[in-house]
Symmetry: C2
Amino acid sequence: MSKLSKKEFNREGLLNQGVVFFMNQGYHGTGLQEILDAVNVPKGSFYNYFNSKEEFGAAVIQHYIEPFIARLSAHLQQSGSDALGAIRRYFAELIVELEENQFKGGCLLGSLMGEIGSTSDVCQQSLQSAIARYRDLLQSGLAQAQQQGSVRTDKTPEEMADLLINAWQGALLRMQIEKSSAPVKQCCHDLLDDFFIP
Amino acid sequence: MSKLSKKEFNREGLLNQGVVFFMNQGYHGTGLQEILDAVNVPKGSFYNYFNSKEEFGAAVIQHYIEPFIARLSAHLQQSGSDALGAIRRYFAELIVELEENQFKGGCLLGSLMGEIGSTSDVCQQSLQSAIARYRDLLQSGLAQAQQQGSVRTDKTPEEMADLLINAWQGALLRMQIEKSSAPVKQCCHDLLDDFFIP
DNA sequence: TTATTAAAAACGACCGGTCGTATTTTTAAA
DNA sequence: TTTAAAAATACGACCGGTCGTTTTTAATAA
């Protein structure tokens, strides 16, 4: 493996483990050492990859949201004339994975919003942009569904996307402490099978 | 002031400041020293009041939820035949206070669920019971409103209470990073003025 | 005196971050 | 193409400081 790609490999590893540790133990509850040990990167090398823990946190946030956007995007793209179905299937997939993980994870964005959303400007901005991107995608999916007649049109897609994201975040928190997927299932059902239907 | 009541006074002060600091900086982001300094209690004395930071955190959670339950309860009690109006006014009051606080706070329960909901059993249980009490109260209010004909009856009050709490929590997180009360206002409007209406 | 509580001092572990230095990679001149 | 200078990266020891907790001492009550 060439040296250049090894650097990128290590960087990716740090971001991946950052997601895992921050999700399980929170930002302040996770020491850099834990992450570095997990990827076998020496302490002194960390600052060749990132300028500070805070900037690392911001990068982890962006790294975290990417696959979610890619997956939702893929579902929407291949859904043809059933955008609402694509959204339903996307969330159903997430629920399956949450169950597989025994409800340990939740959503990194939700956890970090509460923990450092008010204290770290850098991370706050990262959270803002991550959620905005996710929201915009969901919004476009709901707009498609409106044109297809499967979603009510007396609410803006923006409004519904926000409600769905917020309720989903809250349901994920509940899921964590109740160790049950009931909250997230209920949430999807209430909105996608009822409130959003014309 | 007698010694006994001074001890109770200090204990209350610690809990109050615990709410403030945990809300602003998170659990792991707050050192005991900060809280102790704010209440002028020596560090060595902390363990005369609480057995550990973790148990202190669990106590802070219970201490935090109390006034919310009392206020919602009061609104419902004096609402007569307009339980839905009481719930609306309760949340409207909360929104005013959030705006006064410049969206700094959010909800301690939401923040701590994400940060330590999966790692601290003691706090997890405390969060569970705090939310359950709050939910039950909201549920009873919604049941009243159903009997009064102002809320739809094809959904259980439990289901609606959960959705309201979850969406509210998510909206509070959004409010924090967007520094705007728009998310919480939208949330209340979507549910209390639309989805819950028969 | 003895028993009980408050508080000070001390504990080891760990925090994020910096340091000097060794090694490698890139750049540019020859 | 070879070589020399410069820039970037790797790395572990180490920084001052803070963490939550424990032990020891001082003060108070019985």
